[in-house]
Amino acid sequence: MDLFIAIFTGTIIAATPLIFAALGELVVEKSGVLNLGIEGMMLMGAALAFWAVTAGYSMPVAILAGALAGAATSLLFGVLALTFLTNQYAAGLALAIFGSGVSAFLGRGFGSEPIEALHRVNIPVLSDLPLIGPMLFRFDAMVYLALVMFVAISWFLYRTKAGLVLRTIGESPQTSHAIGYPVIRIRYAAVLFGGAMAGLAGAYLSVAYTPLWVENMTAGKGWIALALVVFATWRPLRILLGAWLFGGMTILQLQGQALGLEVPSELLSALPYLATIIVLVLISRDRQMLALHFPASLAKPFRPAS
């Protein structure tokens, strides 16, 4: 039973950074922009948040610093992709490389000591319930924040006018521009939001999950988040489910020994990447379903005609 609870809670926790990053990317892609640089933004968020903690700032400030670092990094991409109309694939790749370099540079003085991790909440009564307490009510606050973001983003996209505007810009920026919406400005907002969410994801890794600083500590999670958005066919609920699936995969790898699996640890480590490929294949075959929610202008540069 303890093992089950460990796997369950481990899954939820491992999924949390993916939820942040993938939801952020969802908003970006819904506006018709493809930012491949999640990995770089996450690393910047992780580095800055970790630095803030070691510099003696409080946890909330550190996490905010992570979000701001992610947003600031995404601004570089925004300028290239939105103002300079560059190839979004290339700009995103550049961001991934750049973010990994800058974060490694910043992080050279961090040392290898872990810090005190973000505290788990302790809700009176609820946290003490048998089974349900340890399963649902003893996470740190960011786990709950991720779920709140899920609800907020779903509501925003499908229940508000601003969300409608964002989605329709993703379909046809030309038409949105003709109706009179500031396409570029809205896309900038989406990119910055995506950056902040990636920053949160990174911050979660360095101050709550690990909690220490290692160069390139995201280890491909940014790319998996990107795959999750495709896997989810651009729908928030599926992102949540997908993130839990991948979280479970990660935990399987960590708990592999405890479960008595006699396989090389590298194979278990490869599981999330393998699963990403398999899931992508399964999803991509159904072109019709992809087309239904796919932002039609994704990755196409847009310049408003004067």
Binding site: T168, I179, G180, A291, A296
Partner: protein, 515 residues
């Protein structure tokens, strides 16, 4: 009383082109005012200036006597000026009411807005369901959505840009009724068109544009078509030379019971399509856009293949399973509707674009592209078809629409086709080039080639075709002889009525155009 809208000496130039040159006009409340002119005369630019989507370089705009200083679409809407674009500003992936909510100034409450849409659309005799997804709507229905969107703002001035180019003749009648009702209620209407008969039927006044200048103002109902046409086109109208067809004995193209499911729900199913095209004749395929033309054309060209080989036969050979390059070996040549990106690679030079389909004409040897041959080939086309370009080195997208079309038509004709398939041959092409392209097509057919022309412009089809087919909801009618049919009959077929098996198959024919 002040006019509803007044333009004084509007000038607008784009680099290299003067789009509007000293244009003045004045529109009274409740007046239906035509802006008449050929493609490229500067009508669309003028409308964008009125609506504020483009800024004039000089000149003034007055609305109800007040000058408009800084102009943009938001100002227009605040003043009660609304515009229905020729290519609709609608989003496919969301519903009618969501589309309208995007441009509505009211609070974001969809149920209330949906109710308003229902009421308003009923009142003007063009019912629409606010909760349908736009990708499910026909072109005619989409236009209704656009108009209702404008009407919701209770406009004082409504601008319509070529509104009938996508409608059947019957739907046009319906639209005119609505517009007259609006004008009677005091709304001014600016009606942009190049169709004389419509302007004469509907409009009170007409301002005629040519090369960006006003060439005259007229009361169309009191002016002859000839006079209006002179103002529009200038001194002389080009004339076609059409000799009677001499069809070959055996058909060059045979389509037998071709049925295909649409790729996705944006497409149209083709249902049991059968027809023949003989050498020496031109067959036209008429129909409102989005009724299966794109699917049929892709199947004929080989861009899509079909499992049953004999569903399409070219020169007596089963061809439905063959790819485009294999079909070209059988003697097919094809001019697609989209010039840039399909018929030609925009960023490539003309000689590179010549290699695209003419790679069997000595331009490729031993797997290598022979640049000298390719350039000579392209230069030949440029000379023969009078393409205005800086030689074979020009980049395709630097050419005007008409010149690029001449190049593509020229390239395909240089393949010496036995079967020539051409889609929207003169879309967005100026008058001179249109006449040239049409004459070229006629000459090709009279030299023995089989020609299939797909076009949404009935005028064009009546001008050059020997036989006509009509496509509606993926069904193709029996052929009609051009000299014994008329627009009325074609128009009925375009709505799906009068199609022998067609109408009964799904209860009624008005899914495409509910009028």
């Amino acid at each position: 009383m002040h006019p509803r809208l007044e333009l004084r000496s509007i000038c607008k130039r784009y680099p290299g082109v003067v789009a509007n040159d000293d244009v003045s006009l004045s529109i009274q409340p409740g007046e239906i005012h035509a802006v008449l002119g050929e493609n490229g005369a500067g009508k669309s630019t003028l409308m964008k200036i009125i609506y504020g989507a483009a800024q004039a370089d000089s000149g003034e705009i007055y609305c109800d006597g007040n000058p408009i200083a800084a102009h943009n679409p938001a100002v227009s809407r605040a003043l009660g000026i609304e515009m229905v674009y020729q290519h609709f500003a609608l989003f496919e992936s969301v519903s009618v009411v969501e589309n309208i909510a995007l441009s509505a100034s009211s609070a974001f409450h969809l149920p209330t807005l949906a109710e308003k849409i229902r009421n308003l659309s009923m009142r003007y005799g063009m019912p629409i369901d606010p909760h349908r997804q736009v990708h499910d709507l026909s072109v005619g229905e989409r236009q209704r959505v656009e108009i209702v969107r404008c009407l919701l703002q209770a406009p004082k001035l409504l601008i319509l840009d070529e509104p009938t180019s996508v409608l059947t003749p019957q739907a046009v009648v319906k639209l005119f009724e609505t517009l007259r009702q609006l004008a009677a209620e005091g709304c001014s209407i600016v009606y942009i068109s190049h169709k004389l008969d419509e302007v004469q039927e509907l409009c009170d006044t007409a301002t005629v544009l040519r090369n960006g200048k006003v060439t005259g103002t007229a009361r169309p109902k009191e002016t002859t078509s000839l006079e209006l046409a002179r103002m529009m086109v200038g001194s002389k109208l080009p004339e076609m030379h059409v000799s009677p067809p001499v069809p070959s004995e055996k058909p060059v193209l045979e389509v037998n019971g071709l049925s295909v499911k649409a790729r996705d729900h944006f497409g149209v199913d083709l249902k049991n399509v059968s027809f023949n095209v003989h050498g020496g004749e031109i067959v036209g395929l008429a129909g409102v856009s989005g009724n299966g033309q794109a699917e049929l054309v892709a199947l004929l060209s080989g861009e899509r293949t079909h499992d049953r080989g004999d569903a399409i036969r070219i020169c007596g050979i089963d061809a439905a399973r063959l790819r485009p390059n294999e079909r070209r070996k059988l003697g097919i040549a094809f001019v697609p509707e989209e010039r840039l990106g399909r018929g030609a690679v925009p960023s490539h030079t003309l000689w590179e674009n010549a290699v695209l389909t003419a790679h069997r004409f000595g331009t490729v040897r031993n797997g290598l592209v022979d640049r000298r041959k390719a350039k000579a080939f392209a230069t030949g086309i440029i000379d023969r078809f009078k393409v205005k370009a800086n030689g074979a080195q020009s980049i395709a997208q630097s050419l005007s629409g008409g010149n690029l079309q001449k190049f593509i038509v020229g390239r395909e004709i240089a393949l010496k086709p036995k079967l020539f398939l051409v889609s929207q041959p003169t879309w967005g092409v100026d008058v001179g080039a249109s006449a040239f392209i049409r004459q070229t097509i006629i000459d090709l057919s009279r030299a023995g080639a089989a020609v299939l022309v797909v076009s949404e412009e009935l005028d064009e089809l009546f001008e050059i075709c020997d036989r006509l087919l009509v496509i509606c909801q993926g069904k193709v009618s029996a052929p009609l002889i051009r000299t014994t049919t008329d627009r009325e009959e074609i128009g009925l077929l375009m709505t799906g009525r009068g199609m022998s098996e067609g109408a009964s198959a799904n209860g009624s024919g008005d899914i495409v155009l509910q009028d």
